[in-house]
Symmetry: C2
Subunit: 407 residues, 2 copies
Amino acid sequence: MEILVQKYGGSSLANAERIRAVAERIIASRQSGRPIVVVVSAMGDTTDDLIRLARQLAKEPDDRELDLLLSTGETISCTLMAMTLRHMGYEAISLTGAQAGIKTDASYSRARIIAVDPSRVHRELAAGRIVVVAGFQGITEEFDITTLGRGGSDTTAVAMAAILGANLCEIYTDVDGVYTADPRIEPRAQKLKEISYEEMLELAQQGAKVMHPRAVELGSVYGVPIVVRSSFNTNPGTLIHGETAMELRNKVRGIAHDTDVAKITVVGVPDRPGIAAALFQPLAEANISVDVIVQNASIHGVTDLSFTVARSDLERALRIVQSVSEEIRATDVVSSTDLAKVSIVGTGMQHAPGYAARMFRALADHQVNIDMITTSEIRITCLIGSAHVVEAVRALHEAFQLDRADL
Amino acid sequence: MEILVQKYGGSSLANAERIRAVAERIIASRQSGRPIVVVVSAMGDTTDDLIRLARQLAKEPDDRELDLLLSTGETISCTLMAMTLRHMGYEAISLTGAQAGIKTDASYSRARIIAVDPSRVHRELAAGRIVVVAGFQGITEEFDITTLGRGGSDTTAVAMAAILGANLCEIYTDVDGVYTADPRIEPRAQKLKEISYEEMLELAQQGAKVMHPRAVELGSVYGVPIVVRSSFNTNPGTLIHGETAMELRNKVRGIAHDTDVAKITVVGVPDRPGIAAALFQPLAEANISVDVIVQNASIHGVTDLSFTVARSDLERALRIVQSVSEEIRATDVVSSTDLAKVSIVGTGMQHAPGYAARMFRALADHQVNIDMITTSEIRITCLIGSAHVVEAVRALHEAFQLDRADL
């Protein structure tokens, strides 16, 4: 019978009562007789608590040490879950990332999975056990413990599903699924029945918090169907997969927004080859993700270059940019943090230029000024003033008729 | 240069401030240039907190799961210590029991070390690092995590010292060293400068809490000199080693007491071969330690058999004994918990019968009734009413002149 992989997030495991509720849900899935692998995150705020403890002792805790420290959060929750399942009368065993065969590189705090050796998991499943795997963690060739960074437990779940040939990976979280927009901002937002990997990737990258883009990408590469659903109810959730129903093509599927945006503008940049590289190379080396980039048309051999970074990276980015700016003899560096991104996402958008016009019109109708624009094949993103986010999301949701039921 | 092993207990690591204080102490030892391996326990009450959490979810948590759960306590403290040392400018690395090469059998919750592979520790020491090892934990051949049971971190420290050929294993705790009696009971108790492994073993087995007998035994087998001292001051502590200064032989070295005692008496036992085995075999199988055993002289082929167990084991022991008692047709089983043990310990005691007489006389002079008596080569233990413990310890301390300075 085909293996089912389930992943439960930290808020679903925040206390003893919730752990018991999740255990009952696992047992209900188990009734079908299917082999089950459960991936768990750390309970509630455990990870934040551990980071706080570390920061009390070291201003910048060493990455290797921090990874080993943080890995205990998931180890605790996987043992508690296995105990609970056993207490309820089911054979279960917890496995750390290392025991589950999750091999990673040694990039502490953001390790990449290089291989999964599923032999122990297969052995335990063959013995009739529910296997509970600690998410977010792996082990290097040197037997050092790593963590996978943001979205780590989702990534563990999708990787396990891929290697085990599971026909479904269920991501249980505290929301019902993927919505056409953030329901806290647009109450008329509709839950999507299904969405393609590519669309989900764009939504996730542009601020939808429901799943980390990395896990979606892994699912896409290995063709693992993923369901995002709530651990607090039995609603069906959203299926993320490769096929999109034909009638859903060429439609805007969702609105993403992201307020974690800071803009840096380098003013008066001499417009000659190599300038962009000189600027963005050191940012990449400092592991700072640069998002929207816009370069003005050059006038008299001088141009302005604007780009966005996450707010938490602004200070570090500014230090680097200021130093480069002196080298390349730019006039000035300015920054602002009162910005946000709104995006529309949908497959086939690139073949229908009308979407861009409709987006700009909807924003203009609501007096929302557009600061910068970028596009991908299936996305259009506008940078706007952060004060206008709620208005903009609602305007776009209405303009693209996302409150309709046939999603 | 010879390696120094230090072990710090949970109370020495109870919060960020104490961790910093211990780190400073480690650095002070490091100034000599000696390679240092530090073994740490879990912070303060972490282990109890984790057990409480487990019990909320499973009445009798599975041993394998509980071991993996509890191991996180020491993993957390070893990473925090390594971070702190690094923050203070010293190269340091944390190693889990598994990474430090502590291989054990699979007796969860009380695993025995079967081998130590020190290659990683050697490699890190050679790189100039202070190595911080998580105590109390090991790994089986199957890569399952085990814990070593009571006194586990002391055992880790002594085992590391043995395999590394360290010329000293310092056990840092919340008391100044080994005393002639518990200073909370006998304010005139003196700290011993040194004590033999055998004497320390007897004291530890008879209730002295300062070190677990198991770690002392390991030190004795491998000839590892152990110093017990406080992490809260710089007092010199007590050296536990093989040689005892000649003039200290044939002297009582310390008084131990233990109030964790319950007595079971099987009344009217038919006095025939095999009865004792029938009784004690199932207790051993249930992992219940039986201590003082006394069998009355047989009258008309019937005898009474009394023995002591830890109070926490009484209920389980009674169930077993009652069932056996019916099989062997004993008359009755009675138990009491208002008892305690007091012991005098000293090498060479067996060659000086005067000690026993002096002990009984001292107790009699203080109207302390003796319920049972057992002896070893270097120890005499009396079972007395628990209400008389303080009186008895003080009487014996005085009778054997332990408040003298030349210890």
